[in-house]
């Protein structure tokens, strides 16, 4: 064993390197406050490991990216945990970065000769943020797609080179395959490689100069660290207080308890008449291994614990597949960009120059100030300027972030959009499960051929200017997407069309002539209403007729009662032919009868409705009596002219299937 080791050592020097790495002296002893660099190294390592495994399952193209992430999230064994760890570690990494930066600035670890290390650190901060930004797009879901679109549009406002820059970044004039391949290459290749190289330099320089030991000269100096910590945590608590109404209670309690804890500690140190242990210097030096690593390990373990907590408690979101034709207004960047996002809404940043100012100049100045810190901090007063500057920056960041979330939480339109997006994400999962897989064209095609998704949209844009689809509690007609109609409906309510209930209403005078049905059409003066007034149908007649007519629709929702009430249905058909009612004088029933009114053969069946919507002026339906109903499919008029339809066959079928309730449902 020993022989093998020295053989290896002679050839690689690995033992010496390990010793060198581990047996570094820590002047003044190991400390908890030195752990942040190690936690970051750990977090990056976790990202590399999980990232490589995710890479093995991910497929970057506009028609497979969402699909492969869906597969990772929902079907791959342990895939959701893998993706969850990657996602949540990225979130926590941003917090760790800030803590590391605060630690470095408070301890003035940027002072000569450590300036370069500080600058490399700031560059790494920006690389990490760029990695997050590029990673956000990769699932190619609605949220990532629209949020990243905003970010790349901002690249477009860079003076002079903006347009070209944007084109290069997204790989063309518009989002597509090449946006994903480019972002993926950046996210998994270029940026991590740069990060590894810089971490190497960062750690090399850190070892070269050693830990910056705080050397307090006075008692207050020794407590200085705790005072700054108190200010920081109290600031967080205040921010949390502003946010108290729109969030779980821990958001308020965690920073408040932290601040209280720090204050108690300060009071305790004062009462004891001693300073904290930093005043008991010179203390015996510690060793990196195991004194510091022990602390590092415990905090890294806590970081992992926090990540897993979020993975299991919050899960990892995948919104519905990116759809360039369906803007998602509730798209937001990751939380650490929310402050910038909100800033752009300020009046100061209005207009073309305002956008350049807010998106480029102000962030540019702020980051230059970060870079300048080692130079500003040359003198003691400069150090204080830096500390205050950093606290103001972080304070501004926290306040803006809180404001941004608060604004969203109190915006009903935003909440409605988010809920709709969740519904759609659930719907696409349902469709994939039902289909037992995703079609080669991608998951979006499932949504596009889903009546439940498309029906209300098509109805709202094509039908709702005349027809209603149900009513809200206040009796206002709705447009199919649960929005109120802007105008009064002028044509029948189509909710439940073809059902017994709906047909019963059509056969009742007070409904037929009301706003809900034909009250605002020419048919108010028509023969049918005249007939209904003259005949005074009994309730029993209406029930039988409605059952018979409704059975022609062959609605899925009524198949049970249609099969049960055979006698009632048969009676209904018989009455239609009898002299007393004589429906067949005007209407065709089961293929026989008059031609004055619409053909009731296969009334409200799928094909009947498609044909009717296609061209209700056809002699089979209203003929010349048609009021304002346009032909939605191409039709030939009696003069032989071709009248172009407003919709295609598929769209009409989607509307019909939705109206009839013919779609996949749980």
């Amino acid at each position: 064993m020993k022989g093998l080791f020295s053989w290896l050592e002679n050839r690689t020097g690995i033992g010496a390197i390990t010793k060198e790495a581990l047996f570094e002296r820590v002047p003044g002893g190991a400390r908890w406050r030195y752990v942040w660099g190690s936690t970051l190294t750990f977090a990056i390592m976790v990202q590399f490991i999980t990232g490589v495994f995710l890479w093995m399952a991910y497929s970057p193209s506009a028609s497979t990216a969402w699909e492969s992430v869906y597969y990772i999230q929902n079907e791959l064994t342990f895939g959701w945990i893998l993706r969850g760890i990657h996602h949540w570690t990225a979130q926590i990494m941003v917090v760790l970065l800030v803590l590391h930066l605060v630690q470095v600035v408070i301890d003035s670890a940027y002072r000569a000769p450590r300036e370069f290390n500080f600058w490399f650190g700031v560059i790494m901060l920006f690389i990490t943020l760029a990695t997050s930004l590029t990673g956000y797009l990769l699932p190619w879901d609605q949220k990532g797609f629209w949020a990243t679109k905003v970010a790349t549009n901002l690249a477009g406002v860079v003076p002079l080179i903006g347009d070209d820059l944007q084109r290069v970044v997204i790989g063309g004039a518009d989002y597509g395959h090449h946006t994903l391949t480019r972002f993926f290459a950046l996210h998994a290749g270029v940026l991590p490689a740069a990060l590894i190289a810089l971490i190497g330099v960062h750690i090399y320089l850190f070892r070269r100069h050693g830990i910056t030991e705080a050397k307090p000269a006075t008692r207050v100096g020794a407590l200085y660290y705790w005072y700054l910590l108190a200010v920081g945590s109290a600031g967080l608590a205040v921010a949390a207080y502003l946010f108290r109404n729109s969030n779980p209670s821990w958001v308020l309690w965690v920073p408040s308890l932290l601040a209280a804890g720090v204050i108690v500690r300060i009071v305790f140190l004062h009462l004891r008449g001693k300073d904290d242990n930093s005043a008991r210097r010179p203390k015996r030096d510690g060793m990196f291994w195991p004194d510091q690593i022990f602390r590092d390990a415990i905090v890294c373990f806590a970081v992992l614990g926090a990540v897993l907590f979020f993975v299991f408690w919050k899960g990892t979101e995948l919104t519905s597949p990116a759809d360039p034709s369906q803007p998602y207004n509730a798209a937001r960047p990751d939380w650490y960009f929310m402050s910038l996002f909100l800033m752009l809404k300020f009046e100061l940043f209005q207009g073309e120059f305002g956008l350049v100012l807010g998106a480029i100049i102000v962030p540019g100045i702020l980051s230059s100030m970060l870079f300048m810190m080692p130079l500003i901090g040359l003198k003691k007063v400069g150090h204080w300027v830096n500390v205050v500057l950093l606290y103001v920056l972080i304070g501004g960041f926290v306040v803006l972030t809180v404001m941004a979330f608060k604004k969203d939480a109190s915006d009903p339109a935003y909440i409605a959009d988010v809920n709709k997006a969740h519904e759609q994400a659930e719907r696409v999962n349902e469709l994939i499960e039902f289909n037992d897989g995703i079609p080669p064209e991608g998951a979006l095609s499932l949504l596009y051929s889903d009546p439940l998704t498309q029906g209300p949209r098509l109805f709202a844009t094509n039908c709702a200017s005349c027809h209603a689809y149900g009513y809200d509690d206040g009796g206002n007609a709705l447009d199919g997407t649960n929005k109120k109609l802007s105008d009064k409906q002028s044509a029948p309510n189509l909710k439940g069309v073809g059902s017994r209930e709906w047909i019963s209403k059509v056969l009742t005078v007070e409904h037929y002539g009301s706003d809900e049905f034909f009250g605002n059409t020419n048919f108010k003066e028509g023969k049918m209403l005249e007939f209904l007034v003259d005949t005074e149908l009994e309730e029993e007649d209406v029930t039988g007729l409605a059952a018979a007519l409704s059975s022609e629709a062959k609605l899925k929702s009524q198949s049970d009662i249609d099969n049960k009430d055979l006698e009632l249905i048969a009676n209904g058909f018989e009455w239609m032919g009898e002299d007393e009612l004589a429906c067949v004088d005007c209407h065709k029933v089961k293929g026989e009868g008059g031609k004055k009114g619409p053909d009731l053969t296969a009334y409200m069946s799928r094909q009947w409705l498609v044909d009717f919507i296609g061209n209700s002026s056809h002699e089979r339906f209203y003929g010349d009596d048609n009021d304002r109903m346009p032909n939605f499919l191409d039709a030939v008029s009696t003069e032989g002219e071709i009248k172009q339809g407003k919709l295609d066959q598929k769209s009409v079928e989607l509307i019909v299937d939705w109206l009839r309730g013919e779609y996949v449902d749980k």
Partner: protein, 187 residues
């Protein structure tokens, strides 16, 4: 940074109990936290091991009149619904089958994939035998290796449904077999 690297550190001057405790805790926690992301990753990596086999699929390939009565084999493509990870292809070619009519009541079916290395077997130029262009294996029309063939076994015969054959329809149970071994092993 990597605590698990050195499991036997030699601390020159301070073999205290505290340090021993610190080392133990560091190594245990270090191992635990590395194993979480690695473990989740390995689990996804090895997921294909627990996925189902390709399975068999019964397909109609021809009616008996389509096949030459002189016993010359004819190649048919097997098209089926296929799932590839997340994608479901409605009609995807998944392989092909040689059908050979022996007489009115007997049809033989061979998977056209060569049992040697999985190349696609053809009929040789003079039309007298099956021939694999990759490594020159040759099989007679009964599927048995002939000449200096490198294939470890003859062509894989597939099951033809006898009842449906009586009605003139050729239905074959399509199965894929492992290449390169002497026994017929389903994959």
């Amino acid at each position: 940074m990597n605590e698990s690297l050195s499991s036997e550190p030699i601390e020159p001057d301070d073999p205290e109990r505290r340090q021993f405790l610190e080392k133990t805790v560091s190594i245990v926690l270090g191992g635990a936290m590395v194993s979480v992301p690695v473990g989740a990753g390995i689990a996804t990596l090895l997921a294909p091991l627990s996925s189902d086999k390709g399975g068999s699929l019964k397909v109609r390939l021809a009616s008996i009149e389509d096949l030459p009565s002189d016993g010359t084999p004819k190649l048919y493509q097997v098209v089926a619904e296929k799932k590839d990870a997340w994608t479901k292809y409605p009609n995807k070619p998944i392989g092909s089958v040689f059908l050979r009519r022996i007489d009115e009541s007997k049809v033989v079916a061979f998977n056209s994939s060569c049992p040697h290395a999985g190349c696609s077997v053809d009929i040789d130029s003079d039309g007298s035998a099956f021939f694999c262009p990759c490594h020159a294996s040759s099989f007679d029309f009964d599927g048995i290796t002939q000449g200096k063939s490198v294939s470890p076994r003859g062509l894989d015969e597939l099951e033809v449904d006898p009842d449906l054959l009586d009605k003139g329809e050729v239905w074959v149970t399509f199965v894929k077999f492992k290449a390169g071994v002497a026994d017929k092993v389903e994959v």
